[in-house]
Protein backbone atom coordinates (compact mmCIF):
# COMPACT_ATOMS: atom_id res chain seq x y z
CA UNK A 1 0.00 0.00 0.00
CA UNK A 2 1.61 3.21 -1.11
CA UNK A 3 1.83 6.23 1.11
CA UNK A 4 -0.25 9.16 0.04
CA UNK A 5 1.76 11.87 -1.61
CA UNK A 6 1.76 15.10 0.23
CA UNK A 7 1.17 17.17 -2.89
CA UNK A 8 -2.54 16.55 -2.56
CA UNK A 9 -2.67 18.15 0.84
CA UNK A 10 -3.93 21.66 1.51
CA UNK A 11 -1.16 24.21 1.98
CA UNK A 12 -1.65 24.64 5.68
CA UNK A 13 -1.17 20.94 6.27
CA UNK A 14 2.00 20.99 4.26
CA UNK A 15 3.24 23.89 6.34
CA UNK A 16 2.44 21.89 9.44
CA UNK A 17 4.37 18.93 8.09
CA UNK A 18 7.28 21.17 7.27
CA UNK A 19 7.29 22.58 10.79
CA UNK A 20 7.25 19.09 12.24
CA UNK A 21 10.27 18.12 10.16
CA UNK A 22 11.98 21.37 11.10
CA UNK A 23 11.42 20.79 14.80
CA UNK A 24 12.77 17.26 14.64
CA UNK A 25 15.83 18.26 12.68
CA UNK A 26 16.41 21.26 14.91
CA UNK A 27 16.68 18.99 17.94
CA UNK A 28 19.22 16.81 16.17
CA UNK A 29 21.14 19.89 15.10
CA UNK A 30 21.30 21.40 18.57
CA UNK A 31 22.27 18.12 20.21
CA UNK A 32 25.03 17.41 17.72
CA UNK A 33 26.29 20.98 17.97
CA UNK A 34 26.61 20.65 21.73
CA UNK A 35 28.29 17.25 21.54
CA UNK A 36 30.66 18.20 18.75
CA UNK A 37 31.63 21.48 20.36
CA UNK A 38 32.32 19.87 23.73
CA UNK A 39 34.21 17.08 21.97
CA UNK A 40 36.41 19.52 20.08
CA UNK A 41 37.10 21.67 23.13
CA UNK A 42 37.53 18.69 25.37
CA UNK A 43 40.06 16.99 23.12
CA UNK A 44 41.79 20.30 22.71
CA UNK A 45 42.22 20.95 26.40
CA UNK A 46 42.07 17.61 28.16
CA UNK A 47 45.42 16.15 29.08
CA UNK A 48 45.64 12.92 31.09
CA UNK A 49 47.74 14.79 33.63
CA UNK A 50 44.74 16.89 34.52
CA UNK A 51 42.80 13.87 35.63
CA UNK A 52 45.41 12.80 38.11
CA UNK A 53 46.84 15.94 39.64
CA UNK A 54 45.48 17.98 42.48
CA UNK A 55 44.23 21.48 41.95
CA UNK A 56 46.54 24.16 43.30
CA UNK A 57 45.30 27.48 44.59
CA UNK A 58 47.57 29.57 42.43
CA UNK A 59 46.81 32.99 41.09
CA UNK A 60 47.41 31.87 37.53
CA UNK A 61 45.07 28.97 37.19
CA UNK A 62 46.02 28.07 33.65
CA UNK A 63 49.31 26.57 34.70
CA UNK A 64 48.51 24.97 37.98
CA UNK A 65 47.17 21.58 38.80
CA UNK A 66 44.37 19.47 37.51
CA UNK A 67 41.05 18.31 38.80
CA UNK A 68 41.61 15.07 40.62
CA UNK A 69 39.91 16.30 43.76
CA UNK A 70 36.80 17.53 42.00
CA UNK A 71 36.63 14.21 40.16
CA UNK A 72 36.81 12.33 43.45
CA UNK A 73 34.31 14.75 44.88
CA UNK A 74 31.81 13.96 42.14
CA UNK A 75 32.30 10.27 42.77
CA UNK A 76 31.93 10.54 46.55
CA UNK A 77 28.89 12.77 46.35
CA UNK A 78 27.13 10.59 43.78
CA UNK A 79 27.68 7.42 45.80
CA UNK A 80 26.69 9.10 49.06
CA UNK A 81 23.56 10.69 47.64
CA UNK A 82 22.39 7.53 45.95
CA UNK A 83 23.08 5.38 49.01
CA UNK A 84 21.08 7.71 51.21
CA UNK A 85 18.21 7.70 48.74
CA UNK A 86 17.84 4.01 47.92
CA UNK A 87 16.31 2.73 51.15
CA UNK A 88 13.72 5.49 51.58
CA UNK A 89 13.02 5.48 47.85
CA UNK A 90 12.33 1.77 47.58
CA UNK A 91 10.34 1.78 50.83
CA UNK A 92 8.12 4.60 49.65
CA UNK A 93 7.59 2.94 46.28
CA UNK A 94 6.71 -0.37 47.93
CA UNK A 95 4.26 1.31 50.28
CA UNK A 96 2.64 3.25 47.45
CA UNK A 97 2.20 0.26 45.22
CA UNK A 98 1.51 -2.56 47.66
CA UNK A 99 -0.24 -0.99 50.64
CA UNK A 100 -1.43 2.55 50.00
CA UNK A 101 -3.96 2.71 52.83
CA UNK A 102 -5.65 5.04 53.78
CA UNK A 103 -6.32 6.25 50.29
CA UNK A 104 -6.05 9.96 50.97
CA UNK A 105 -2.66 9.45 52.59
CA UNK A 106 -1.40 7.59 49.57
CA UNK A 107 -2.45 10.39 47.25
CA UNK A 108 -0.85 12.91 49.57
CA UNK A 109 2.43 11.01 49.59
CA UNK A 110 2.31 10.63 45.83
CA UNK A 111 1.85 14.34 45.32
CA UNK A 112 4.50 14.94 47.97
CA UNK A 113 7.04 13.03 45.93
CA UNK A 114 6.05 15.10 42.90
CA UNK A 115 6.55 18.29 44.91
CA UNK A 116 10.04 17.17 45.94
CA UNK A 117 10.77 16.37 42.31
CA UNK A 118 9.69 19.83 41.28
CA UNK A 119 11.49 21.78 43.99
CA UNK A 120 14.32 23.83 42.53
CA UNK A 121 17.69 22.52 43.63
CA UNK A 122 18.72 25.98 44.81
CA UNK A 123 15.82 25.94 47.29
CA UNK A 124 16.85 22.47 48.48
CA UNK A 125 20.37 23.79 48.87
CA UNK A 126 19.52 26.70 51.11
CA UNK A 127 17.10 24.55 53.08
CA UNK A 128 20.01 22.21 53.66
CA UNK A 129 22.10 25.15 54.82
CA UNK A 130 19.48 26.07 57.43
CA UNK A 131 19.30 22.50 58.71
CA UNK A 132 22.99 21.74 58.87
CA UNK A 133 23.92 25.06 60.43
CA UNK A 134 21.99 24.10 63.53
CA UNK A 135 24.09 22.96 66.44
CA UNK A 136 22.19 19.70 66.48
CA UNK A 137 23.82 18.75 63.23
CA UNK A 138 27.33 19.89 64.06
CA UNK A 139 28.72 16.33 63.89
CA UNK A 140 27.86 16.31 60.20
CA UNK A 141 30.19 19.16 59.38
CA UNK A 142 32.39 20.95 61.86
CA UNK A 143 32.54 23.91 64.17
CA UNK A 144 34.96 26.68 63.40
CA UNK A 145 37.06 28.48 65.98
CA UNK A 146 34.66 31.19 66.99
CA UNK A 147 31.62 29.11 67.54
CA UNK A 148 29.58 28.89 64.37
CA UNK A 149 28.70 25.54 62.88
CA UNK A 150 30.09 25.55 59.38
CA UNK A 151 27.18 23.65 57.96
CA UNK A 152 28.85 22.73 54.69
CA UNK A 153 30.25 19.29 54.05
CA UNK A 154 29.85 16.20 51.94
CA UNK A 155 27.24 14.94 54.39
CA UNK A 156 25.16 18.06 54.00
CA UNK A 157 25.42 18.08 50.23
CA UNK A 158 24.85 14.32 50.07
CA UNK A 159 21.69 14.54 52.11
CA UNK A 160 20.19 17.12 49.77
CA UNK A 161 21.37 15.22 46.71
CA UNK A 162 19.47 12.22 48.07
CA UNK A 163 16.32 14.33 47.79
CA UNK A 164 17.08 14.91 44.13
CA UNK A 165 17.47 11.21 43.42
CA UNK A 166 14.52 10.14 45.58
CA UNK A 167 11.66 10.86 43.14
CA UNK A 168 13.48 9.10 40.33
CA UNK A 169 14.03 5.97 42.39
CA UNK A 170 10.45 6.02 43.63
CA UNK A 171 9.10 6.39 40.10
CA UNK A 172 11.19 3.67 38.53
CA UNK A 173 10.59 1.19 41.37
CA UNK A 174 6.85 1.80 41.30
CA UNK A 175 6.76 1.22 37.58
CA UNK A 176 8.68 -2.02 37.99
CA UNK A 177 6.43 -3.22 40.78
CA UNK A 178 3.27 -2.34 38.90
CA UNK A 179 4.49 -4.29 35.90
CA UNK A 180 4.46 -7.51 37.88
CA UNK A 181 1.14 -9.24 37.16
CA UNK A 182 -1.27 -9.86 40.00
CA UNK A 183 -1.23 -13.59 39.68
CA UNK A 184 2.35 -13.69 40.92
CA UNK A 185 1.32 -12.12 44.18
CA UNK A 186 -1.75 -14.29 44.42
CA UNK A 187 0.30 -17.42 43.86
CA UNK A 188 2.59 -16.39 46.66
CA UNK A 189 -0.29 -15.80 49.06
CA UNK A 190 -1.81 -19.10 48.05
CA UNK A 191 1.38 -20.76 49.14
CA UNK A 192 0.99 -19.21 52.57
CA UNK A 193 3.51 -16.36 52.50
CA UNK A 194 2.64 -13.13 54.17
CA UNK A 195 2.50 -9.93 52.17
CA UNK A 196 5.73 -8.69 53.70
CA UNK A 197 7.54 -11.88 52.83
CA UNK A 198 6.15 -11.78 49.31
CA UNK A 199 7.47 -8.30 48.83
CA UNK A 200 10.84 -9.20 50.22
CA UNK A 201 11.37 -12.52 48.51
CA UNK A 202 9.40 -12.29 45.28
CA UNK A 203 8.57 -8.79 44.19
CA UNK A 204 11.68 -6.84 45.06
CA UNK A 205 14.12 -9.24 43.44
CA UNK A 206 12.04 -9.10 40.28
CA UNK A 207 11.96 -5.35 40.41
CA UNK A 208 15.72 -5.14 40.71
CA UNK A 209 16.31 -3.88 37.16
CA UNK A 210 13.74 -1.15 37.77
CA UNK A 211 15.44 -0.13 40.97
CA UNK A 212 18.75 -0.12 39.14
CA UNK A 213 17.28 2.07 36.42
CA UNK A 214 16.03 4.54 38.98
CA UNK A 215 19.36 4.53 40.76
CA UNK A 216 21.30 5.17 37.58
CA UNK A 217 18.93 8.00 36.64
CA UNK A 218 19.39 9.45 40.10
CA UNK A 219 23.16 9.20 39.83
CA UNK A 220 23.05 11.03 36.53
CA UNK A 221 21.09 13.90 38.00
CA UNK A 222 23.27 14.10 41.09
CA UNK A 223 26.44 14.18 39.03
CA UNK A 224 25.08 17.06 37.01
CA UNK A 225 23.77 19.27 39.77
CA UNK A 226 25.66 22.44 40.58
CA UNK A 227 23.51 24.63 42.84
CA UNK A 228 23.64 22.28 45.84
CA UNK A 229 27.39 21.82 45.47
CA UNK A 230 28.09 25.53 45.26
CA UNK A 231 26.16 26.27 48.42
CA UNK A 232 26.63 23.16 50.54
CA UNK A 233 30.05 21.80 49.78
CA UNK A 234 32.27 24.49 51.20
CA UNK A 235 34.07 25.47 48.02
CA UNK A 236 37.55 24.32 48.89
CA UNK A 237 39.52 23.37 45.80
CA UNK A 238 41.03 20.28 47.35
CA UNK A 239 39.31 17.64 49.36
CA UNK A 240 39.82 18.86 52.86
CA UNK A 241 38.90 16.40 55.53
CA UNK A 242 37.72 17.19 58.99
CA UNK A 243 38.49 15.28 62.15
CA UNK A 244 39.81 11.81 61.56
CA UNK A 245 38.79 8.27 61.06
CA UNK A 246 39.15 7.13 57.50
CA UNK A 247 35.87 7.66 55.73
CA UNK A 248 33.97 9.79 58.19
CA UNK A 249 36.51 12.59 58.03
CA UNK A 250 36.21 13.04 54.31
CA UNK A 251 32.45 13.08 54.53
CA UNK A 252 32.51 15.71 57.24
CA UNK A 253 34.95 17.81 55.30
CA UNK A 254 34.58 20.03 52.32
CA UNK A 255 35.68 19.73 48.75
CA UNK A 256 34.46 20.40 45.27
CA UNK A 257 32.97 18.47 42.40
CA UNK A 258 33.37 18.67 38.66
CA UNK A 259 30.28 20.84 38.38
CA UNK A 260 31.44 23.46 40.87
CA UNK A 261 34.91 23.27 39.33
CA UNK A 262 33.52 24.08 35.89
CA UNK A 263 31.43 26.89 37.37
CA UNK A 264 34.38 28.39 39.24
CA UNK A 265 36.74 28.24 36.30
CA UNK A 266 34.26 29.77 33.90
CA UNK A 267 33.92 33.54 33.54
CA UNK A 268 31.16 33.30 36.13
CA UNK A 269 33.54 32.25 38.88
CA UNK A 270 36.99 33.11 40.10
CA UNK A 271 39.38 30.79 38.38
CA UNK A 272 39.38 32.46 35.01
CA UNK A 273 40.74 29.38 33.29
CA UNK A 274 38.27 28.45 30.56
CA UNK A 275 40.59 25.78 29.20
CA UNK A 276 40.33 23.78 32.39
CA UNK A 277 36.62 24.45 32.52
CA UNK A 278 36.25 22.88 29.08
CA UNK A 279 38.35 19.89 30.02
CA UNK A 280 36.41 19.27 33.21
CA UNK A 281 33.10 19.85 31.43
CA UNK A 282 34.07 17.28 28.84
CA UNK A 283 34.85 14.69 31.52
CA UNK A 284 31.58 15.52 33.27
CA UNK A 285 29.63 15.10 30.05
CA UNK A 286 31.24 11.71 29.45
CA UNK A 287 30.31 10.58 32.95
CA UNK A 288 26.70 11.67 32.58
CA UNK A 289 26.37 10.10 29.13
CA UNK A 290 27.82 6.83 30.42
CA UNK A 291 25.34 6.76 33.27
CA UNK A 292 22.46 7.31 30.87
CA UNK A 293 23.80 4.65 28.57
CA UNK A 294 23.85 2.32 31.56
CA UNK A 295 20.19 3.10 32.13
CA UNK A 296 19.52 2.05 28.56
CA UNK A 297 21.39 -1.21 28.95
CA UNK A 298 19.63 -2.09 32.17
CA UNK A 299 16.17 -1.43 30.86
CA UNK A 300 16.87 -3.36 27.72
CA UNK A 301 18.07 -6.38 29.64
CA UNK A 302 14.94 -6.36 31.66
CA UNK A 303 12.80 -7.75 28.86
CA UNK A 304 9.88 -9.18 30.75
CA UNK A 305 10.52 -12.31 32.71
CA UNK A 306 8.50 -15.17 31.26
CA UNK A 307 5.49 -14.92 33.50
CA UNK A 308 3.22 -16.27 30.89
CA UNK A 309 4.94 -19.48 30.00
Amino acid sequence: MGRESTSSWPLIDRIGLGLAWAAGLLLCLVASAIVIYMLVRGVQFLRPGLLFSHPQPELDQTKSGGFLDPLLGTFILTVLGTTLAILPGVSIAVWLSEYARPFWLARAVESGVEVVAGTPSIVLAIFGLIIFSQHLFAPFSFTAEGGAVFGRSFFAAGAMMALIALPLIVGATREALQAIPRHVREASYALGKTKAATIRRVLLPTARPGIATGTALGMGRIAGDTAIVVILLGASLQLSSQGSGPILSTLRGTGSTLTSYVYNNSPAGEGNAPEKAYAAAFVLLLIVITLNFAVDLISRRRSAPAWNT
Partner: protein, 342 residues
Amino acid sequence: MSTKVAQPSPGLLDSLWETVSKPWTDKRAELVLGALACSVLVLIAGMVIFVFVKAWPSFSHNGLSWFGSGGNVDQQLDDIFNSTKTGHGYDYHLRAWPLLWGTILTTVGAVVLGLAVALFAAVFIVEFAPDWLRRVLDPVVRLLAAVPSVIYGLIGILVIVPFVGNHLISAGRKESVAYVVQLTGASLIVAVLILTVMITPIMLAIIVDALRSVPRGWTEGAAALGVNRWRVMWTISVRAARPAIVAAAVLATARALGEAIMLSMVSGSIGFAPNPLDGITFFFEPTRPLAATIVDRADALSAPPLGQTLYAFAAVLLVSAMFLSLAGWLAKQPLKKYGAGA
Protein backbone atom coordinates in the same frame (compact mmCIF):
# COMPACT_ATOMS: atom_id res chain seq x y z
CA MET B 1 18.67 -38.60 84.49
CA SER B 2 17.32 -35.41 83.17
CA THR B 3 20.01 -33.06 82.15
CA LYS B 4 18.86 -29.56 82.23
CA VAL B 5 21.10 -27.42 80.17
CA ALA B 6 21.01 -23.97 81.59
CA GLN B 7 20.14 -21.55 78.83
CA PRO B 8 21.94 -18.24 79.16
CA SER B 9 19.38 -15.49 79.33
CA PRO B 10 19.11 -13.92 75.88
CA GLY B 11 21.73 -11.18 75.53
CA LEU B 12 21.14 -7.88 73.87
CA LEU B 13 22.59 -8.96 70.56
CA ASP B 14 20.46 -12.06 70.49
CA SER B 15 17.19 -10.24 71.06
CA LEU B 16 18.19 -7.66 68.45
CA TRP B 17 18.77 -10.42 65.99
CA GLU B 18 15.42 -11.96 66.88
CA THR B 19 13.53 -8.82 65.99
CA VAL B 20 15.29 -8.45 62.70
CA SER B 21 15.37 -12.00 61.46
CA LYS B 22 11.90 -13.16 62.38
CA PRO B 23 9.59 -12.65 59.45
CA TRP B 24 7.89 -9.32 59.82
CA THR B 25 4.20 -9.30 60.32
CA ASP B 26 2.24 -7.50 57.68
CA LYS B 27 1.09 -5.00 60.22
CA ARG B 28 4.57 -4.05 61.27
CA ALA B 29 5.76 -3.84 57.69
CA GLU B 30 2.89 -1.62 56.75
CA LEU B 31 3.47 0.68 59.71
CA VAL B 32 7.18 1.03 59.12
CA LEU B 33 6.86 1.60 55.40
CA GLY B 34 3.98 3.97 55.93
CA ALA B 35 6.02 5.96 58.40
CA LEU B 36 8.84 6.26 55.91
CA ALA B 37 6.40 7.37 53.27
CA CYS B 38 4.96 10.03 55.55
CA SER B 39 8.45 11.33 56.17
CA VAL B 40 8.23 12.84 52.70
CA LEU B 41 5.29 14.92 53.83
CA VAL B 42 7.09 15.85 57.03
CA LEU B 43 10.09 16.92 54.98
CA ILE B 44 8.03 19.17 52.74
CA ALA B 45 6.27 20.70 55.69
CA GLY B 46 9.64 21.26 57.36
CA MET B 47 11.01 22.91 54.25
CA VAL B 48 8.14 25.32 53.98
CA ILE B 49 8.23 26.17 57.67
CA PHE B 50 11.97 26.71 57.92
CA VAL B 51 12.24 28.78 54.78
CA PHE B 52 9.27 30.95 55.70
CA VAL B 53 10.47 31.48 59.25
CA LYS B 54 13.75 32.75 57.91
CA ALA B 55 12.06 34.82 55.24
CA TRP B 56 9.35 36.35 57.38
CA PRO B 57 11.07 39.64 58.37
CA SER B 58 11.50 40.61 54.75
CA PHE B 59 7.85 40.05 53.94
CA SER B 60 6.45 41.58 57.10
CA HIS B 61 8.54 44.70 56.70
CA ASN B 62 7.45 45.39 53.16
CA GLY B 63 3.98 43.99 53.04
CA LEU B 64 2.46 43.50 49.64
CA SER B 65 4.64 46.12 48.02
CA TRP B 66 7.44 43.57 48.29
CA PHE B 67 6.16 42.48 44.90
CA GLY B 68 5.93 45.99 43.54
CA SER B 69 8.42 48.14 41.77
CA GLY B 70 10.23 51.23 42.81
CA GLY B 71 13.89 52.03 42.65
CA ASN B 72 16.95 50.07 41.71
CA VAL B 73 16.63 46.65 43.24
CA ASP B 74 20.40 46.06 43.28
CA GLN B 75 20.84 49.31 45.17
CA GLN B 76 18.18 48.19 47.63
CA LEU B 77 19.92 44.86 48.16
CA ASP B 78 23.17 46.67 48.85
CA ASP B 79 21.42 49.00 51.28
CA ILE B 80 19.93 46.02 53.09
CA PHE B 81 23.39 44.56 53.45
CA ASN B 82 24.92 47.80 54.62
CA SER B 83 22.23 48.28 57.21
CA THR B 84 24.06 45.83 59.46
CA LYS B 85 26.73 48.43 59.94
CA THR B 86 24.61 51.11 61.52
CA GLY B 87 23.13 50.46 64.90
CA HIS B 88 19.63 51.44 63.88
CA GLY B 89 18.27 47.98 63.29
CA TYR B 90 18.04 46.23 60.00
CA ASP B 91 16.54 47.75 56.93
CA TYR B 92 14.49 45.38 54.79
CA HIS B 93 13.15 47.81 52.22
CA LEU B 94 12.79 45.99 48.94
CA ARG B 95 10.74 46.23 45.79
CA ALA B 96 11.42 43.00 44.03
CA TRP B 97 9.48 43.62 40.82
CA PRO B 98 12.50 43.77 38.42
CA LEU B 99 13.55 40.33 39.61
CA LEU B 100 10.02 38.97 39.36
CA TRP B 101 9.63 40.48 35.90
CA GLY B 102 12.89 38.92 34.79
CA THR B 103 11.75 35.56 36.15
CA ILE B 104 8.38 35.81 34.40
CA LEU B 105 9.95 36.83 31.08
CA THR B 106 12.52 34.06 30.99
CA THR B 107 10.16 31.36 32.24
CA VAL B 108 7.16 32.20 30.06
CA GLY B 109 9.33 32.85 27.03
CA ALA B 110 11.12 29.54 27.35
CA VAL B 111 7.94 27.54 28.04
CA VAL B 112 6.03 29.02 25.10
CA LEU B 113 8.91 28.54 22.70
CA GLY B 114 9.67 25.10 24.07
CA LEU B 115 6.07 23.98 23.90
CA ALA B 116 5.85 24.91 20.23
CA VAL B 117 9.03 23.03 19.40
CA ALA B 118 8.10 20.06 21.58
CA LEU B 119 4.65 19.78 20.05
CA PHE B 120 5.84 19.75 16.48
CA ALA B 121 8.77 17.52 17.28
CA ALA B 122 6.52 15.08 19.09
CA VAL B 123 4.20 14.86 16.12
CA PHE B 124 7.25 14.31 13.97
CA ILE B 125 8.61 11.53 16.16
CA VAL B 126 5.30 9.70 16.49
CA GLU B 127 4.11 9.91 12.93
CA PHE B 128 6.41 11.27 10.28
CA ALA B 129 9.95 10.39 11.13
CA PRO B 130 11.53 7.61 9.08
CA ASP B 131 12.55 4.67 11.23
CA TRP B 132 16.26 5.37 11.20
CA LEU B 133 15.66 8.99 12.21
CA ARG B 134 13.34 7.92 14.97
CA ARG B 135 16.01 5.64 16.36
CA VAL B 136 18.44 8.55 16.30
CA LEU B 137 16.03 11.02 17.90
CA ASP B 138 15.41 8.84 20.92
CA PRO B 139 18.94 9.07 22.35
CA VAL B 140 19.18 12.67 21.11
CA VAL B 141 16.30 13.75 23.31
CA ARG B 142 17.63 11.80 26.25
CA LEU B 143 21.03 13.39 25.75
CA LEU B 144 19.58 16.89 25.75
CA ALA B 145 17.72 16.11 28.96
CA ALA B 146 20.80 14.71 30.64
CA VAL B 147 23.32 17.46 29.92
CA PRO B 148 24.08 19.24 33.19
CA SER B 149 22.97 22.85 33.41
CA VAL B 150 26.48 24.07 34.11
CA ILE B 151 27.59 22.83 30.70
CA TYR B 152 24.74 24.70 29.02
CA GLY B 153 25.86 27.73 30.99
CA LEU B 154 29.49 27.24 29.99
CA ILE B 155 28.74 27.07 26.28
CA GLY B 156 26.40 30.00 26.71
CA ILE B 157 28.85 32.25 28.47
CA LEU B 158 31.90 31.34 26.40
CA VAL B 159 30.36 31.11 22.95
CA ILE B 160 26.90 32.60 22.65
CA VAL B 161 27.23 35.63 24.89
CA PRO B 162 30.38 37.00 23.19
CA PHE B 163 28.81 36.29 19.80
CA VAL B 164 25.69 38.24 20.68
CA GLY B 165 27.65 40.99 22.37
CA ASN B 166 30.15 41.55 19.61
CA HIS B 167 28.21 40.74 16.49
CA LEU B 168 24.51 41.06 17.08
CA ILE B 169 24.35 44.18 19.21
CA SER B 170 25.40 47.20 17.22
CA ALA B 171 27.28 50.11 18.73
CA GLY B 172 24.36 52.36 18.02
CA ARG B 173 22.10 50.17 20.08
CA LYS B 174 24.51 50.26 22.98
CA GLU B 175 24.59 54.03 22.83
CA SER B 176 20.87 54.31 22.84
CA VAL B 177 20.69 52.92 26.38
CA ALA B 178 24.15 54.02 27.44
CA TYR B 179 23.42 55.75 30.67
CA VAL B 180 20.71 53.41 31.81
CA VAL B 181 22.22 49.97 31.37
CA GLN B 182 25.14 48.39 29.58
CA LEU B 183 24.45 45.91 26.82
CA THR B 184 26.94 43.10 26.91
CA GLY B 185 25.92 39.89 25.22
CA ALA B 186 24.45 38.46 28.42
CA SER B 187 20.84 39.19 27.82
CA LEU B 188 17.25 38.08 27.91
CA ILE B 189 17.27 36.41 24.54
CA VAL B 190 20.29 34.22 25.25
CA ALA B 191 18.73 33.18 28.54
CA VAL B 192 15.40 32.30 26.92
CA LEU B 193 17.00 30.37 24.06
CA ILE B 194 19.21 28.22 26.25
CA LEU B 195 16.42 27.65 28.78
CA THR B 196 14.19 26.51 25.91
CA VAL B 197 16.77 23.91 24.89
CA MET B 198 16.89 22.72 28.47
CA ILE B 199 13.16 22.26 29.04
CA THR B 200 12.05 21.02 25.62
CA PRO B 201 13.12 17.39 26.23
CA ILE B 202 10.95 17.24 29.36
CA MET B 203 7.86 18.33 27.48
CA LEU B 204 8.74 16.18 24.51
CA ALA B 205 8.83 12.97 26.51
CA ILE B 206 5.43 13.55 28.06
CA ILE B 207 3.74 14.58 24.83
CA VAL B 208 5.20 11.67 22.86
CA ASP B 209 3.93 9.26 25.48
CA ALA B 210 0.47 10.77 25.30
CA LEU B 211 0.35 10.83 21.50
CA ARG B 212 1.38 7.21 21.37
CA SER B 213 -1.42 6.12 23.67
CA VAL B 214 -4.28 7.67 21.74
CA PRO B 215 -6.55 4.72 20.90
CA ARG B 216 -5.68 3.44 17.48
CA GLY B 217 -9.28 3.09 16.57
CA TRP B 218 -9.65 6.83 16.54
CA THR B 219 -6.69 7.53 14.25
CA GLU B 220 -7.39 4.64 11.95
CA GLY B 221 -11.02 5.55 11.76
CA ALA B 222 -10.15 9.06 10.70
CA ALA B 223 -7.67 7.80 8.12
CA ALA B 224 -10.33 5.50 6.77
CA LEU B 225 -12.53 8.53 6.27
CA GLY B 226 -9.88 10.05 4.02
CA VAL B 227 -8.26 12.53 6.40
CA ASN B 228 -4.58 13.05 5.60
CA ARG B 229 -1.92 12.03 8.13
CA TRP B 230 -1.07 15.50 9.28
CA ARG B 231 -4.66 16.38 9.94
CA VAL B 232 -5.22 13.10 11.77
CA MET B 233 -2.37 13.90 14.10
CA TRP B 234 -3.27 17.51 14.56
CA THR B 235 -6.99 17.33 15.01
CA ILE B 236 -7.32 14.02 16.78
CA SER B 237 -4.17 12.91 18.56
CA VAL B 238 -3.02 16.31 19.66
CA ARG B 239 -6.53 17.17 20.76
CA ALA B 240 -6.77 13.98 22.76
CA ALA B 241 -3.41 14.65 24.31
CA ARG B 242 -4.40 18.06 25.62
CA PRO B 243 -4.18 17.09 29.31
CA ALA B 244 -0.66 15.83 28.63
CA ILE B 245 0.28 19.07 26.94
CA VAL B 246 -0.97 21.03 29.92
CA ALA B 247 0.89 18.73 32.31
CA ALA B 248 4.05 19.06 30.24
CA ALA B 249 3.83 22.85 30.18
CA VAL B 250 3.25 23.03 33.92
CA LEU B 251 6.12 20.72 34.77
CA ALA B 252 8.44 22.53 32.40
CA THR B 253 7.50 25.82 34.03
CA ALA B 254 8.48 24.42 37.42
CA ARG B 255 11.82 23.36 35.99
CA ALA B 256 12.41 26.70 34.31
CA LEU B 257 11.61 28.58 37.50
CA GLY B 258 14.19 26.68 39.45
CA GLU B 259 17.06 27.01 37.00
CA ALA B 260 19.67 29.03 38.81
CA ILE B 261 23.17 28.20 37.64
CA MET B 262 22.75 28.50 33.90
CA LEU B 263 20.74 31.70 34.19
CA SER B 264 23.24 33.28 36.57
CA MET B 265 25.90 32.68 33.93
CA VAL B 266 24.14 34.08 30.88
CA SER B 267 21.32 36.39 31.79
CA GLY B 268 23.36 39.44 32.72
CA SER B 269 23.50 39.55 36.50
CA ILE B 270 21.87 42.96 36.78
CA GLY B 271 18.54 43.41 38.50
CA PHE B 272 17.09 45.27 35.55
CA ALA B 273 13.52 45.02 34.28
CA PRO B 274 13.68 44.79 30.49
CA ASN B 275 11.35 47.29 28.94
CA PRO B 276 9.18 45.96 26.10
CA LEU B 277 8.75 49.50 24.82
CA ASP B 278 12.37 49.50 23.78
CA GLY B 279 11.60 47.49 20.69
CA ILE B 280 14.26 45.10 19.54
CA THR B 281 16.60 46.30 22.26
CA PHE B 282 14.22 44.69 24.72
CA PHE B 283 15.63 41.30 23.78
CA PHE B 284 19.19 42.36 24.39
CA GLU B 285 18.68 43.86 27.80
CA PRO B 286 20.17 42.05 30.77
CA THR B 287 18.08 40.81 33.64
CA ARG B 288 18.42 38.42 36.54
CA PRO B 289 15.72 35.98 37.60
CA LEU B 290 15.07 35.17 41.26
CA ALA B 291 16.97 31.88 41.40
CA ALA B 292 20.02 33.44 39.76
CA THR B 293 19.92 36.27 42.31
CA ILE B 294 20.16 33.77 45.14
CA VAL B 295 23.19 32.09 43.56
CA ASP B 296 24.91 35.38 42.81
CA ARG B 297 24.60 36.61 46.37
CA ALA B 298 25.03 33.27 48.10
CA ASP B 299 27.93 34.55 50.21
CA ALA B 300 25.51 36.64 52.21
CA LEU B 301 23.17 33.78 53.11
CA SER B 302 24.33 33.57 56.70
CA ALA B 303 24.32 37.31 57.26
CA PRO B 304 20.95 38.76 58.17
CA PRO B 305 19.22 40.84 56.88
CA LEU B 306 20.37 40.23 53.32
CA GLY B 307 20.31 36.52 54.05
CA GLN B 308 16.68 36.76 55.09
CA THR B 309 15.85 38.64 51.92
CA LEU B 310 17.41 35.84 49.91
CA TYR B 311 15.35 33.34 51.86
CA ALA B 312 12.32 35.41 50.91
CA PHE B 313 13.22 34.89 47.26
CA ALA B 314 13.53 31.19 47.93
CA ALA B 315 10.15 31.19 49.63
CA VAL B 316 8.54 32.69 46.53
CA LEU B 317 10.24 30.07 44.38
CA LEU B 318 9.25 27.27 46.73
CA VAL B 319 5.59 28.22 46.80
CA SER B 320 5.43 28.66 43.03
CA ALA B 321 7.18 25.36 42.39
CA MET B 322 4.89 23.57 44.83
CA PHE B 323 1.78 24.92 43.18
CA LEU B 324 3.07 24.05 39.74
CA SER B 325 4.10 20.53 40.75
CA LEU B 326 0.72 19.89 42.31
CA ALA B 327 -1.03 21.32 39.26
CA GLY B 328 1.07 19.13 36.98
CA TRP B 329 0.30 16.07 39.08
CA LEU B 330 -3.41 16.87 38.96
CA ALA B 331 -3.23 17.39 35.21
CA LYS B 332 -1.60 14.02 34.76
CA GLN B 333 -4.34 12.15 36.61
CA PRO B 334 -6.79 12.01 33.67
CA LEU B 335 -4.01 10.56 31.56
CA LYS B 336 -4.16 7.40 33.58
CA LYS B 337 -7.35 6.60 31.76
CA TYR B 338 -5.35 6.00 28.62
CA GLY B 339 -2.56 4.33 30.50
CA ALA B 340 -0.19 7.02 29.42
CA GLY B 341 2.45 8.40 31.77
CA ALA B 342 2.33 7.35 35.39
